[in-house]
Symmetry: C2
Subunit: 385 residues, 2 copies
């Protein structure tokens, strides 16, 4: 990873620069809408979930919501992580001395068993750079196979963070490879933020086309009123927040509530970042506590307006709707922002209050689609829900 001190400032303009760098390598993923899901979101929320959680009662708020979905599940490697990884490599290539010092031969390293591992592997292979991926030896075999499939050198470690970091340090010592962390770095944040810029433009275009088709004259500038993005380590949420700075588009973070996975929400409300979380939420991409640099954007600069959290049942229910109505495959983490829009009474009251009769156009980030059919089968097999 390029030295953070050489990174561009964390601004909307830097996100636009990042976009230019990665444009040749990543997909401009489609944005879709659904009148049936927008209708559903505009009706009182059904009761979903466990008794005693507050979610067992039918909602009262009746906000007017038009939903738009940014499909990063169709991104390379099946998740937005490709953006940050390609940006990290492009920035490394531009770091003074990196190439001359044999950087390309020494390669890059990370510890991850998820989408970041595959994203970094692909970005490295595309640039003919060796990638070393440190993974717990207990990782699911398909994830190991997928990462190897992108040409990475997979190195196993124990599953605690101390064990993983020790093995990573050893790899760096042995190879001179540069560490590319999954979220806590400006270059990663700026790379992920590029999806936010695309999202804004795409919705404006789609709305203009729709207005034209309906015979409306182009009047005031239209576009998104808000974006809800999932928050794990916070790299993507903070990048999206940067992409919206100065536009008036509000940015909200979405988390699972299970076993304290809503660390960013709790930290945001108490005023101090929570640095440790232990949760087995089905939204496995969101088990990580939010990182320090993302936090500086999210909280210190207040570029995120609020956080909302949803239950496991609500996540599953939203996931089911994405499959059955939108016909797209998303992983559980991706269903969290949709669950907020459909079921979170606090969010829905906020929209009802602030948007009034005109309603809001809300962008929902589908962050990824990497879920095996076996895992899906286990989640939704008859009677299990």
């Amino acid at each position: 990873m390029a030295d953070p001190s050489t990174s561009p400032p964390l601004t909307r303009a830097s996100v636009a620069e990042a976009r230019k760098l990665i444009e040749p390598f990543v997909h401009r993923t489609p944005v879709i809408s659904s009148s049936s899901l927008s209708e559903l979101a505009s009706s009182p929320a059904p009761a979903i979930g466990e008794a005693g959680t507050g979610a067992e009662e039918k909602g009262k708020a009746k906000p007017k919501l038009r939903l738009w979905f940014k499909c990063e599940n169709f991104q390379k490697v099946g998740a937005f992580k490709a953006r940050g990884a390609f940006h990290a490599i492009e920035r490394l290539k531009r770091e003074p001395g990196w190439l001359e010092g044999g950087g390309r031969e020494r390669g890059v390293v990370t510890h991850s068993s998820g989408n970041h591992a595959q994203a970094l592997s692909l970005a490295a292979r595309t640039n003919n750079i060796p990638a070393y991926i440190v993974m717990p030896s207990i990782s699911a075999p398909p994830k190991i196979a997928a990462t190897k499939g992108y040409g990475a050198n997979v190195i196993f470690s124990g599953s605690t963070s101390v064990e993983r970091e020790a093995v990573t340090a050893k790899v760096i010592e042995d190879t001179g490879a540069r560490l590319v962390p999954p979220y806590d770095h400006p270059d990663i944040i700026l790379g992920q933020g590029t999806l936010g810029l695309e999202f804004q433009e795409q919705v404006e275009t789609l709305m203009a086309e729709k207005a034209e088709k309906g015979g409306e004259k182009p009047t005031k500038k239209k576009g998104l009123d808000a974006i809800i993005a999932p928050c794990g380590g916070g790299g993507m949420l903070s990048g999206v927040a940067l992409s919206c700075e100065g536009t008036g588009i509000r940015v909200f973070g979405a988390e699972p509530s299970f076993q304290g996975a809503d660390d960013a929400k709790r930290g945001f409300e108490s005023g101090s970042r929570i640095t440790s979380v232990k949760t087995l939420t089905i939204a496995d991409g969101l088990r990580t506590p939010v990182g320090a640099i993302p936090w500086s954007v999210i909280y210190d600069r207040r570029l995120v307006s609020a956080f909302f959290s949803v239950s496991e049942s609500q996540i599953k229910s939203a996931m089911r709707l994405a499959y059955e109505r939108l016909k797209v495959v998303i992983e559980p983490s991706s269903a969290v922002p949709l669950a907020v829009a459909l079921y979170d009474e606090a969010f829905r009251e906020l929209v009802e209050r602030e948007a009034g009769d005109e309603g809001w156009d809300v962008g929902i980030v589908f962050s990824g689609g990497n879920v095996g059919l076996d895992a899906l089968g286990a989640l939704f097999a008859e009677g299990k829900e």
Copy 2:
């Protein structure tokens, strides 16, 4: 349904006319490609399936295949059936005397428990016409709910075809509603065929864009070499075949082999249409024998080049790849053409022989995406496959 004697002739030009009629009502669904699936299709087929079926051995053919997918799973009501239903209604509206004779008040009727029922219900509701749908009382509750959700009057019958037809006749007697059959009518065939025209244009555009991006000069006209479409009643396959007449694009039919579901293949090879099939293939949209009018296009006019059939395991394997690689939700029937491209040795040898080193661009029709997550869970729950 408009009297077949008033229908336009079954030609490519009539498909283009149908397209103009339905364009305001249906989606121009996206076409996607996947380098990973094209690579897979261009490697020898893996052994998939039951011992003794011939599918347990690794394939030898190594055709060069570039796959393109027409995503009718994103169509209104989640399947291509919307095209035929909207076309049927538009044609009815233009039938001399229908409107004046109170046709709009009398409505339309069909017997179906699947995608056609929902498609006709939506097309009727859009036009403020009552729809009567005769369904076996044992139909799955979500299907009944979905059809009612589109505003149709659902009328229950026994589950044999004799019982269903008796109830349908009674509805016609009572209401004067016009019968709109699911596939055996020229207007339905022409409506479904519109997806073929779009597919051809979209692939040409995508190939031209790709060539331009890669710095190639536009040379010879490029486009699809072949289309593989699933065959149930044959309405869509025959429509797609019409859309390709005179273009040089070869059209192939794909069926499940389970319990004789490959009736069109057997009929095509023996020279006589098979009119009765009893199968419980997981590709439930393809359990129907091919209809007489589709057959006249498919066989008598030889607008379909050949049929191929695949096993249940091959269908499930193709379905898994669509989910895991393409991140799209398709129903089992939609996976049948992909299974042919990936696993059917006869098809693959044909391409290897005829396309040589240059290979073929093959269009795969994803016909629909209506599958419940419960059913999916049951299909793919761990250990079940």
